[in-house]
């Protein structure tokens, strides 16, 4: 009995467990990633993890905060994992290191550390990388069976750390633009959606391979809802808004605007819906606020994908909506018990 005041009992949940379960929920998607694109992603996840923990420890030390309890909260690890899953797996080692270090140090700790950052750290890391190193950020691995050459794990490692490819192999031979990116470029070349989708990189729902990764994230996300780690509000509002916007454009002009399902299963839509926009620290706290926040992000994602300069829009959609969070929360306060029923309806004597 160490407590001096009630309650004397508490649920055994901890921040560390919550973060860990979110990371567990990422595993199906990661497994799909490995299956279709090879083990390179594991290397970037490992790199991101080490960088995240090192940066976290260094920043805690600099800020004179206790290192051990915060290192064990798993929040930095999760940031690293999400960033690693957002950028091309076959990338020079410094890309993920720079991104992760920036995410943890600048966008998390300079704002006060865990619980105090207004912007999603992983998405800040992504934004920094795509703005600073656009070339490296477009070298996505070709899924199994589609490339002219496939790199073995050791070759992938060699490229990541030494920057050298096996003789006779060019970067172009083993990488490609993402299905979203290809779509955008080809549409600019006045090809129709139907023509573009005949390309082998497209699968049943979206991109070959990447659609399966998205399905993996969807499965993990549903687990998060079932385990009550997140509520349904953000994923439903986000995917709903994305679907509705994409659907409207698709209905109006199917030759130039792809189906909403394609938008769901390409790029980071599923990752964003269940794992990124659901970050509690940077999202709104009210249920209605979550709906508005996520719907806004869905709309922005579509607008950036369809009309913006970047192939995918999750990162900027998230960051833009992060800015709106305080305002959204202020205007979506729920009614308190006893202030809910309109006067008279309560049959009261007042």
């Amino acid at each position: 009995m160490a407590a001096f005041f009630s309650p004397f009992i508490s649920k055994p949940d901890t921040v560390a467990q919550i973060m860990l379960r979110v990371m567990l929920a990422l595993l199906p998607g990661i497994a799909m990633y490995v299956w279709y694109f090879g083990p390179a992603i594991l290397v970037s996840i490992a790199l991101a993890s080490v960088t995240a923990l090192a940066t976290e420890a260094a920043m805690l030390k600099l800020r004179n905060r206790p290192v051990a309890p915060f290192l064990q909260d798993n929040s930095a690890l999760l940031t690293g994992w999400l960033l690693a899953l957002s950028i091309p797996p076959l990338a020079p080692w410094w890309l993920i290191v720079v991104g992760t270090a920036f995410a943890i140090s600048i966008s998390k700790h300079l704002y006060g550390g865990l619980g105090n950052n207004p912007f999603n750290p992983a998405m800040i890391g992504f934004a920094v990388l795509i703005v600073s190193f656009p070339a490296q950020m477009t070298h996505w691995l070709t899924p199994h069976g589609l490339g002219q050459v496939e790199l073995g794990f050791l070759d992938q490692l060699r490229y990541t750390f030494l920057g050298s490819l096996p003789p006779g192999v060019t970067l172009d031979a083993i990488t490609m633009a993402t299905p979203l990116d290809t779509l955008k470029t080809r549409l600019h070349l006045d090809e129709s959606v139907k023509q573009i989708f005949d390309m082998p990189i497209y699968g049943r729902l979206a991109g070959q391979g990447s659609e399966m990764v998205s399905l993996g994230f969807l499965a993990g996300g549903l687990y998060l809802i079932a385990a009550r780690i997140i509520t349904w509000h953000v994923p439903v509002a986000y995917l709903g808004a994305l679907f509705a916007t994409a659907g409207l454009f698709h209905l109006a002009d199917p030759a130039h605007y792809v189906t909403p399902l394609f938008h769901w299963f390409s790029g980071a839509a599923m990752l964003g819906a269940f794992f990124i926009l659901t970050d509690p620290v940077t999202g709104p706290t009210t249920n209605r606020g979550k709906l508005i926040f996520a719907a806004g992000a869905g709309l922005l994602t579509y607008l950036i994908r369809a009309f913006g300069g970047f192939p995918d829009g999750i990162a900027f959609a998230t960051l833009l909506m992060n800015i709106c969070v305080p305002l959204i929360v202020l205007y979506t306060q729920p009614k308190v018990f006893g202030k809910k029923m309109p006067a008279g309806k309560n049959g009261g004597a007042q």
Partner: protein, 559 residues
Amino acid sequence: MRTLFKFHGGVHPPGNKTQSTQQPTATAPIPAKLIVPFRQHAGEAAKPVVQVGDHVLKGQLIGEPAGFISSAIHAPTSGTITAIDMQPVAHPSGLPELCATLIPDGRDEWVERKPTDYRAQPADELRHLLRMAGIVGLGGAVFPSDIKLRPLRDHPNKDIGTLILNGAECEPWITCDDMLMRERAAEIVQGAEMLRSMLGSREVLIGIEDNKPEAIAAMRLAVADSGLPFKVVAVPTIYPGGSAKQLIRVLTGLEVPSGKLPTDIGVQCFNVATVYSAWRAVAHGEPLVSRFVTVTGNVRQPRNYEALIGTPLTDLIALGEPLPDTDGYIMGGPMMGMPLPSTSVPLVKAGNCIIAGSKKLFPPPPPTLPCIRCTRCAQACPADLQPMDLYWFSQSKNFGQAQAFSLFDCIECGACSYVCPSHIPLVQYFRFSKSEIRMREQDKLAADRARERHEYREFRIEREKQEKAERLAAKEKAAAAAKPAEPPVVATNPDAAPENTAQMKIQAAIEHAKEQAAAIKPKNTENLPPELLAEIAEIEARRARIRETAKSDVEPPKE
């Protein structure tokens, strides 16, 4: 099947109730010494009406109600009053209270008991009887029951349509109401009919959480036997489903408006133990001198006891045989109870449960981490509050904002603290903020009064100066005019006018300041129900006492 309603939030802590319900309730032996505090209820302490050395009988009045919100105190057994002095009691403040020490004579001899037929008595007679029998809410708030049975102030002719008996007992570990319902169901039902007739209610609902099937069955049987049209309703087990407002919501679908009382929506709610005691008081003439109390937790013999009020908790705890690794005791439940500073304090009317604690049963919480705004607290809050925001405001002492976010609608159930993955003692922050706000409001009131006094003093000094000058001038004039012997005139009349205007101006300024002060005064503590006001008054009284003791401690010796 009755349609039940839901309230927002709630948590499901482990019940831990079966331990103490394995054996029937036992009567605790009369201890060697009883300590009976004169304040065991919300409101003013009772006034002692016995002297040291008096021999008293069981049930004899030893403290009479002193004030509107107050109640009577009785001798729990026959014996001799050996002291009336300040003693430590179980109160969060840790401050002592005036108590009577009673050494029992072992005969347990009753004072003359006068059974009353409630049907033959007008309601105000019955209310007086309950007040003089010391009947207060035994669910924990110990609010005098007679006040809850008064006709509505604004609508004296409006009936309270629904009477609710609260047998929910949602706090983990506590089973005293459960056992009372199992063992004394018939008398609870009789008591309910009495209270129903006093209130004029058309409907009586008895809400019991569905984790107490035996109590539900016993009460249903008792209701059937009585032939009364009461409904025993099994309500879902969810904490804090036994909080009056939440139970009313579940049973009727109505929400008691913020800052209002259940009677404002035509509902009144009594704990089952209160109803039982009220029945004993009227039908048997027995004032409230004992109650059911659960002794459980880290003990070898968890059980319920019918114990005399004033029994030192040490005696009760000894009955349970605490295990050697016991490292503390909780009075009440683990969600809202208080740690006992010492076990020498007596059992009071509010004492429903004593839990022996150990490191294993109540492990220290993991270290607190920053809030990650996960909103589990908001999902758990039965008052639909946003605890993470209130925490933020409380932490930064931004009390205005905390009030704007309905801090005073917090019922301090602790559900938010219970679910917090960062293990932030949220409810403790809210208690702190509430008491800070109340204190500041008092301070502000005092400051306003002081300023008014100061302004008036300035005005008075100014006026006296003016008057003096006028008198001097008049004297001189009179001296100058002494020779022509004209009537000494005029001085007062024309001068009176400007003085009046000056006074009016100052009066207006004071009025203005008052208005401003009233406008600034936060709204949340206005129109509080008498329970809360009583609580505030109590806290203030304690605070004043602390201040005084502190003052007397540090006051320098006079030279």
